[in-house]
C-alpha cells in the first residue's frame, strides 16, 4: 500500500469571491453592466438623469425661502427657485381658507385618521375597530364644527336600531327579515320625528360644540384628502355590492347594477362634477343649501364605485367555479359563501387593481378645481393671481406634486406589503 494516498482531513476555508462578483462592484456588474447593451442603457440613463439634475439641483438648492414677493426673488437671483411663495402660502396649500385659529381641527382629524385605519390595515389591532366606526362622525364634526349632537344623533339612531334588532331576534321573533324591516322602520321614524327633539335636549344637557366652518372655506390638501379618502372608503363596499349584483342571478338587480356601472363608466368624471355643481342646482328648489363638498364626494364615490366594481368582478372571474360549488355543497348560504370563501380570495387577487383605482381617484380630486373648489391646483392659480406671486409656476407645482406623491406612494407601498402578507402560494 503506497503511502502516497492523500486525504484532506480539514476543510479548506472558502476563498472570498472575486471582487468583481460581490459587493458594490458585483451588484453594479450584475445589474447595470451585465452586457454591452445594458451598459449602453445604463450610460444613457445616467446621462439623462444628469441633464435633468444639472439644472434642477442648483435651481432648487439655492432657492429663496424668505423674500416677500416674486419681484424680490427675481431681483436677487432670477436663476434659482423662489420657494418664498411656499413660505408665505403653505398654510393655504394645506388648509385652504380654513380659519387660522382652527387649523388644529383638520390636523387632529388626519392624525386620528391614521389611528382609525390601523385596525383595518393591520389585523392584529382589529380589537380597536370600534374607533374606525366612530371616526367618520368625529371627523365630520371636527371639520365642519357645530354641535356634536348633529352627528351624534346619527350614531344614536343607528345604535338604537341595532339594539332593537338584537332584542327582537332574541325575545320575540326568529325571523331576520321581520326584525330587520321593523328596526329599519324604527330608525327612519326616529330620524323623521324624534331626532330634532333629542338633539335639542342633548344640546341643553351636554352642550359640546365647535365654531362651524362652512364648505366654502375648505380647500388645499385638506380638501383633497376629505374628498379622496371619503370616496375611497365609501366606494369600496359599494363596489363590492355592484360587482356581486352584476353577477347575480336575479335579473332586476343585475340590470340595475350593469346599467349603473356602464353609465357611470361611460361618462368622464368631470361631467359628473359639473352635474354636481351646476345641474343639481336647477333641480333643487331655490334656496336649498346642498353642500357642494358633499355633492362632489357623492359623485366621486359613485364614479370610483363603478370602476371598483369592475376591478372586483375581475377578481371574481379569476376564481374557479369549483369554489362556488364547493362552498354551496358545504351548505353555506349565498352571503356566507361570499364572506368566507369567495370574497377573501377575489379581493386578494384584485389588490393591485383596487389600489390602482384608489390612487387614480385620489389624483382625480384635483379636477374639482374646474368647478371652483379650492384644491391645491385651484389654489395655485389663485395664488398666481396675486400680483405678489404672479408668474410663479414650477415652485407651486413641485410642492403640490410632492404632496400627492407622498400619499400615493404610501398607498402603493401598503398594497405591496398586503400582497406579500397574503401570499399563500409560496
Amino acid at each position: 500500500m503506497s503511502k502516497l494516498a492523500f486525504v484532506q482531513k480539514n476543510k479548506i476555508p472558502p476563498s472570498p469571491a472575486p471582487i468583481s462578483e460581490v459587493g458594490i462592484i458585483g451588484w453594479l456588474k450584475q445589474n447595470l453592466f451585465s452586457s454591452w447593451f445594458n451598459t449602453l442603457l445604463t450610460l444613457l440613463s445616467i446621462y439623462f438623469i444628469f441633464i435633468i439634475l444639472k439644472d434642477f439641483i442648483p435651481w432648487a438648492w439655492g432657492g429663496h425661502w424668505d423674500t416677500k414677493s416674486l419681484r424680490e426673488c427675481l431681483d436677487l437671483n432670477p436663476d434659482v427657485a423662489c420657494f418664498s411663495v411656499l413660505t408665505a402660502r403653505w398654510k393655504q396649500l394645506l388648509f385652504g381658507l380654513y380659519p387660522a385659529e382652527e387649523y388644529w381641527r383638520p390636523t387632529v382629524t388626519f392624525i386620528l385618521l391614521i389611528f382609525s385605519i390601523i385596525p383595518i390595515l393591520f389585523p392584529k389591532y382589529f380589537r380597536f375597530f370600534w374607533f374606525s366606526i366612530i371616526y367618520p362622525g368625529l371627523a365630520i364634526w371636527l371639520l365642519w364644527g357645530g354641535s356634536i349632537w348633529g352627528v351624534g344623533i346619527v350614531y344614536i339612531g343607528f345604535f338604537l336600531g341595532v339594539l332593537l334588532f338584537v332584542l327582537l331576534l332574541r325575545n320575540i321573533t326568529k325571523n331576520m327579515v321581520i326584525a330587520g324591516i321593523s328596526s329599519i322602520l324604527f330608525v327612519i321614524l326616529f330620524f323623521i320625528f324624534f331626532s330634532n327633539y333629542f338633539v335639542n335636549i342633548l344640546n341643553i344637557i351636554i352642550p359640546i360644540s365647535l365654531p362651524p366652518v362652512e364648505s366654502l372655506k375648505m380647500g388645499g390638501f385638506t380638501l383633497s384628502l376629505i374628498v379622496g379618502i371619503t370616496g375611497i372608503v365609501a366606494s369600496f363596499p359599494i363596489g363590492i355590492l355592484l360587482a356581486l349584483g352584476r353577477q347575480s342571478n336575479l335579473p332586476i338587480i343585475k340590470m340595475i347594477c350593469v346599467g349603473f356601472i356602464e353609465f357611470i363608466r361611460g361618462v368622464p368624471l368631470i361631467t359628473l362634477l359639473f352635474v354636481a355643481s351646476v345641474l343639481l342646482n336647477y333641480f333643487l328648489p331655490p334656496g336649498t343649501n346642498f353642500d357642494i363638498v358633499l355633492r362632489v364626494i357623492i359623485m366621486v364615490t359613485l364614479f370610483s364605485a363603478a370602476y371598483m366594481a369592475e376591478v372586483i368582478r375581475g377578481g371574481l372571474a379569476g376564481l374557479p367555479l369549483g369554489q362556488h360549488e364547493a362552498s354551496a355543497s358545504l351548505g353555506l348560504t349565498y352571503w356566507q359563501s361570499q364572506r368566507l370563501v369567495i370574497m377573501p380570495q377575489a379581493l386578494k387577487i384584485s389588490i393591485p387593481g383596487i389600489v390602482n383605482t384608489f390612487i387614480g381617484l385620489f389624483k382625480d380630486t384635483t379636477l374639482v378645481s374646474i368647478i371652483s373648489l379650492r384644491d391645491p391646483v385651484g389654489l395655485a392659480s389663485t395664488i398666481r393671481a396675486d400680483q405678489t406671486w404672479n408668474g410663479i409656476y414650477w415652485e407651486l407645482y413641485v410642492a403640490i406634486g410632492l404632496m400627492f406623491f407622498v400619499v400615493c406612494f404610501g398607498m402603493s407601498q401598503y398594497s405591496q406589503y398586503l400582497e406579500r402578507k397574503l401570499k399563500t402560494d409560496k
Partner: protein, 369 residues
C-alpha cells in the same frame, strides 16, 4: 322664499276646501268672489309696490351678500397671503355690501371658474356676479342676465420683446402668435389680421400660463390676451423692461357686474352703487375726505351722501347714507382702481379709457337725481 310659496299653496288649498264645504250654491258663489277679489288685491299690491326687491330681502334676511368673483384673476380677485379676498371686483362687492348693511365685511365671496359662473348666478348660488365678465349681446339676452354697467373697459392686446423692434401691432405681419385656443381672443386675432391684410402663424396654448411660458421660451414672437392680464404678467417677468405691451387694443371687452333677469330693483341697486363710485371720483369725493362735504353747495353730492333733505335712496329700499357707506368702504372708483390695478397694486395699468369722462376717459355715470 320656499316657505312663502309653500304657505301660499296651503292657503289656497284651505280656501278651496272652505268654499266647497259650504252649503248652498249662491252662498258658495258669493264667498268665492269675495275671496278671489281679496286674493287679487293682495297679489296686486305685492306686484305693484315700488322699490321692492326679492333678492334684497333675501340678502337682508341672510345677513350677508353672496358675491361671485373669479377664483383668480390678477388685479380683479384673488386671496392675499393672509387669506383675505382682495381685488377690483372684490372691492365693488364690498361697496355694495356696505351700501346694504353699512358693513363692507358683510359679504361672502364665492370663487367661481369661468365654466360655472353663469349657472351659479342663475341657480341663485350668488346674488351678484362681479367676475371680470365681458358684456356681450348673447350673455345679456340668451343667458338671461342683466349687466349693471361697465366697471372696466378691457381689450385684447399684444406683448412683444423689445428687441423684436416692433412698436405697433400693424408691424406684426408674419409673426408667430401664442394664442389661447377656444377663446374669443382667438377669433378677434383672426379677424384683426385679416382686416389688415396681414398673416400670422398661431402657436396654440391652453391658458395664459402656458402662453407666457411659450413666449418666454421663444416659441412665439408675441402673445395676446386681455391687456390687463398682459400688464400684470409683464411686471413680474425677469426683466420687465425687455418687454413691451403694444398700444393697440384690437377688441372691446367691457367688463362689468351682472345679476339674474327678473329682479329689476336689485339690478338698480347694483347699478347705482357702481355709478355712485364713479360719480364720487368725478366730484372728488374720496375715502379720506368724504366727511368734509357737509357744507358743499352741490346738491347732487348731498343726494349722493345722504346729507341733504331728500332721501332718494328709499326708492330702492336702501338706507339714506347707503352710498356714503359704499364710498367709505374702499374709496371712489379711482381709488379702487389705483389700489388693485394701478400703481399702488404693482400692476401699473394706466387709466386710459377707464378714466372719468372729465379726464379724457369714457367712464360716464348718469346723474344722481
Amino acid at each position: 322664499m320656499f316657505n312663502a310659496v309653500f304657505s301660499q299653496i296651503i292657503l289656497v288649498l284651505l280656501l278651496i276646501k272652505i268654499i266647497f264645504n259650504l252649503k248652498g250654491e249662491i252662498m258658495r258663489k258669493s264667498l268665492f268672489m269675495v275671496l278671489s277679489s281679496i286674493l287679487l288685491i293682495v297679489g296686486g299690491q305685492a306686484a305693484f309696490s315700488g322699490g321692492h326687491s326679492v333678492t334684497l330681502d333675501d340678502v337682508k334676511a341672510r345677513g350677508n351678500l353672496l358675491c361671485g368673483v373669479s377664483t383668480g384673476a390678477p388685479g380683479f380677485a384673488t386671496i392675499d397671503d393672509s387669506g383675505k379676498d382682495v381685488g377690483f371686483d372684490v372691492d365693488y362687492c364690498r361697496a355694495l355690501a356696505a351700501a346694504i348693511f353699512g358693513d363692507p365685511m358683510a359679504v361672502k365671496f364665492v370663487g367661481l371658474t369661468s365654466a360655472v359662473r353663469f349657472t351659479a348666478l342663475a341657480a341663485g348660488e350668488v346674488d351678484i356676479l362681479a367676475r371680470n365678465t365681458t358684456w356681450t349681446y348673447s350673455r345679456d339676452t340668451d343667458l338671461k342676465q342683466t349687466f349693471l354697467g361697465v366697471n372696466y373697459y378691457d381689450g385684447q392686446g399684444f406683448m412683444v420683446k423689445k428687441d423684436l423692434g416692433v412698436n405697433s401691432t400693424l408691424e406684426l405681419d408674419g409673426a408667430t402668435v401664442c394664442i389661447q385656443v377656444g377663446t374669443t381672443t382667438e377669433l378677434n386675432l383672426a379677424d384683426y389680421f385679416k382686416e389688415n391684410g396681414m398673416s400670422y402663424e398661431p402657436v396654440p396654448t391652453a391658458d395664459n400660463a402656458e402662453s407666457q411660458q411659450q413666449y418666454l421660451a421663444g416659441a412665439c414672437d408675441t402673445y395676446t390676451t386681455d391687456a390687463s392680464a398682459l400688464h400684470g404678467t409683464r411686471v413680474n417677468l425677469e426683466n420687465p423692461d425687455d418687454h413691451l405691451v403694444l398700444p393697440e387694443i384690437i377688441s372691446k371687452e367691457p367688463l362689468g357686474p351682472l345679476v339674474r333677469h327678473g329682479d329689476d330693483n336689485w339690478a338698480d341697486i347694483g347699478r347705482w352703487v357702481l355709478n355712485a363710485l364713479i360719480i364720487a371720483e368725478e366730484k372728488g369725493i374720496t375715502k379720506a375726505n368724504i366727511d368734509s362735504w357737509k357744507d358743499t353747495k352741490d346738491a347732487e353730492i348731498h343726494r349722493l351722501l345722504g346729507t341733504g333733505d331728500d332721501d332718494i335712496l328709499a326708492m330702492v329700499g336702501l338706507p339714506k347714507n347707503a352710498m356714503y357707506n359704499a364710498i367709505k368702504a374702499g374709496g371712489n372708483y379711482g381709488e379702487i382702481f389705483e389700489n388693485n390695478l394701478g400703481a399702488t397694486s404693482g400692476i401699473n395699468i394706466e387709466r386710459g379709457v377707464n378714466a372719468s369722462w372729465t379726464k379724457g376717459g369714457i367712464l360716464y355715470s348718469p346723474p344722481f337725481r
